[in-house]
Symmetry: C3
Subunit: 396 residues, 3 copies
């Protein structure tokens, strides 16, 4: 750990940055109730739902790696704790996009944290705790740059409003997954590549708990910033798409493997949420169901067939298979918008998808190189290296 | 599995049905904020709470069967995923009741899914995955028929408004439990009857997690469609009833068994929520507390004493004891309305209860016969038959 | 158990009290939607979040004691079930404070239940189930007396509005923890003091689940009764403080112990929520982050260093280390208000803190004496003494 003592400066830097970002980061004023404030409280409430997805959802979905459970949940805590304040500070400073109102910024910060957790699923088990913190520090500005370019006309590449991605199929899911793929391209050693990730035999139900928490709060994720009038409609679309993906995953898993693989169910059932993201407030319910069926099938096919090929190509291990759950279904969702959203110009939409893919892979690759400079391992990590694992009094 | 390949047509049929149900299943239009839309978002929010009950609540409460954990959580996923779209499609078509507005329909669909999960708790461990899907397909229309008859004057048997059941003691709990009892009447083989369901020794805390999730979100279940002015009052009634049932369960469990049985705590504590359903927005808090005390006592008595007799009578095994948690306390709650709700005509109320009981048992029995035609087992199922259970790479 | 049969009268006494508290405990009337009612529903919704903290959060955070898991979760259920109705009844009677409106009373009752669960964390593992119930019966009036004195000018000691503690750093956390400390002062036998509490080796992930549920719903806890206009701002403060505490805990745990202790992460990460309580709607975000950093560091230091000294001083065992998580960070939060809240008179604030500390210790000590009269143990309890622990049919 000695080598990493310097990360101690992180909180201090963050606090200084925070202090310098001035009034928008300070108290706001009067109290009371109005239709506007009530709408903001409803957004905040969806923000709590998203927080449940970040901690319990992602945290427990990723808990399957053998002898790495403590590391996984601790990393989840740390990644969220670095991502949210960092996003809020940077946005308050007006860098990489206009400063947002308090509650919108909270939700956007949570979306960034979600993307970071997706990204971290790829190199999971091959980083020290301090490297996860570093990963967060590098990831968030890259994520914000992408968001700024695609949604706010940053660099003048895409006209504002030309890119449709309400629930973040591209901005959150595909970007995070491909950034993670970029990281593992450079992080994975040859020997590591030959050592398969071992699952913990008692972790199935934890994974399913994480999966279910993600599934059930997903409507709040996609409808997070949607206007009240459209929230129920959007939510129903997301639920229907998730139902479609869940049913499709069951059939696809049996068809592709002979028996049901519980990891398919825990993961690919969620691909309906990933894929409906871009069009969740535009699709008809029928389209949402079909997008879910296709998303679930694509994701299961990814876990069963594509993953091995991709890993061979990039010579890297994607521990949680995030490309299968968030990568391909995310891109599929972004492309589906061209067919689903009336009057959408396909030029900016496709260009946005292309930018996100390229930016994610490049910045991920560079980040991986930097992380590797702080130490890379031949063998997977185990809890015992960074955690006190001999059981004793909980408070000793 | 080969025999069940035909269920592959299910999603396709559902999609076609969906497409045919026209505009009410399509996009709805303008965006904005109004008091009305804010109220709808609050209903949606309670819908998310109910979703937590469906997946994490019911899923983990039922996870106790030995070597059947993967099957239980997967079945939960599949049952929810078939029930919700099916209910939405049928209601959109205007069959078995007027089409509802988007958010109300979502909640009603979730209630139907809850009733289906209750029902599935009876034959749990004796069905293949594909048979659970089939169970859902048969259950939902029967459930909707009952709902239509009791609440919307279907078949002209009960005058609209004559039957009081805000939180679904009868419509959701008793119906689901007795349908399940009907199913097991015909599904259970003699040899199966002699083989007790084995509990998984490590599952107690999972069951308690499921139980607690059900307990804590129950107020949102009962107040799901209640007008804003009455939500806090209704919620407090539900909470007080659950508190009463929890305390009563502790005393009853010790009194009836000598020591506390954790399955009593996990299950019967919830009977307060079941029993207060019919009168949750009418009872005084004192009445709610008493209904909870009685509901918890009745349910514990059911698990400790009645169940064995009922199983002997119907020659069927009720794996989760759903009659004890949802059956008798549900009927008790429906009958309690006669004493609690001022000005309620007891004729239609009792008639409604009677119709629900008879309809549930008959349609359940017939459904069981049909399911049995697709295969019935002598021994309980184990995960290994339908799932890949040798632990390997999670993404292999 | 025979000795404790008399607690059977508890529910009856509660019901009689309830009945006597008249109309405010009865039905309230008309239905509809208004801005006011919508605001109340949003409070109710935060009340559900708090309920998730009470049951799943506290319940599973405390589940680490070896062979005591069933007792812990059952005690959680019972403590909540006794606290909430008791608080509601007493407040309805107008004793120890003005009767509140329905939804505010629900939240206040849940806060009282939270404080009780914190308190119970200290003697955890050394009480019978019936003693937990008794603990609740004694704790709630003491808690309400403290609340009345500090917030409503009870006994004329502190001017109304002179004491600032929006999120309950003092009222809920410090009071509960110090009451618990008072209880263990008298409850712990010398031999017990020498026997360390053993952790269950498989409980780490359960504890982290509890911790995460507490973390993510904490904003709703602190903003429970805050006006809509201030909810997002307050929530962001709480989240930022929790992020700060989580990061600080990681560094402090490594610095103080050489490696990460998972119990630190699960507990001290929450100290940001405890410490920001008093000032959650007043602090700037920067201050919130700093309060979180300090709170997390203080709490980790408490677990690693202070606890042993305190236990030596009071000759009592604090099973869950509640003084470290809720005690010192709570007091720190209350004191921080003097520096953070503009125009706050430090006299009443410090006096309030002093009163809370003294009252908690004294009433806790007396309660401990009374509980001890109903039996005290030399060895820690195990599930098998009060629970049926041989695995058999769940419904046997």
């Amino acid at each position: 750990m000695n080598k990493f003592r310097w990360v101690l400066v992180l909180p201090i830097v963050l606090a200084v940055l925070a202090a310098s970002s001035g009034t928008s980061w300070g108290a706001e004023g009067e109290s009371g109730a109005s239709l506007e404030s009530v709408v903001a409280v409803q957004k905040y409430n969806r923000g709590i739902h998203v927080m449940a997805m970040l901690l319990v959802g992602f945290g427990f979905l990723m808990v399957f790696v053998r002898r790495y459970g403590l590391s996984t949940v601790t990393a989840t805590y740390l990644l969220v704790s670095i991502a949210i304040p960092l996003y809020i500070v940077i946005n308050s400073l007006g860098v990489l996009g206009e400063p947002k109102i308090e509650v919108d910024r909270l939700l956007l910060a949570e979306f960034a944290a979600a993307s970071l957790l997706i990204c971290a699923g790829a190199p999971l088990g091959r980083l020290k705790m301090s490297q996860y913190l570093l990963l967060g520090v590098f990831f968030i500005p890259c994520y914000m740059a992408n968001e700024w370019i695609l949604l706010e006309g940053g660099l003048g590449l895409i006209p504002q409003g030309g890119f449709v991605d309400t629930g973040g199929s591209i901005l959150i899911h595909a970007f995070g997954a491909l950034f993670g793929l970029g990281v593992v391209m450079t992080m994975t050693t040859e020997q590591e590549f030959k050592t398969p990730i071992e699952s913990d035999s008692t972790s199935d139900r934890y994974s399913m708990l994480g999966s279910m928490v993600l599934w059930l709060f997903w409507p709040s994720f996609c409808a997070g910033l949607v206007a009240p009038d459209m929230v129920p409609y959007t939510a129903v679309n997301v639920i229907i798409s998730l139902c479609g993906a869940t049913i499709a995953t069951y059939f696809a898993s049996v068809a592709l493997r002979g028996k049901i693989c519980i990891a398919d169910i825990a993961n690919a059932a969620l691909a309906g949420g990933v894929a409906i993201g871009s069009t969740c407030d535009h699709a008809t319910h029928t389209m949402a169901f079909i997008i879910g069926l296709l998303g679930g099938t694509l994701s299961t096919y990814g876990f069963a067939v594509i993953q091995e090929k991709v890993q061979g190509m990039v010579k890297g291990i994607d521990t949680c298979g995030v490309t299968n759950l968030h990568g391909w279904p995310g891109i599929f969702g972004g492309v589906a918008a061209i067919f689903v959203v009336e009057g959408l110009d396909k030029g900016p939409q496709l260009m946005g998808i292309g930018i996100a893919i390229v930016l994610a892979l490049i910045t991920g690759y560079v980040t991986g190189k930097i992380l590797a400079a702080f130490g890379r391992r031949i063998k997977p990590y185990e809890d015992s290296e960074e955690f006190i694992t001999e059981e004793g009094p909980a408070t000793a």
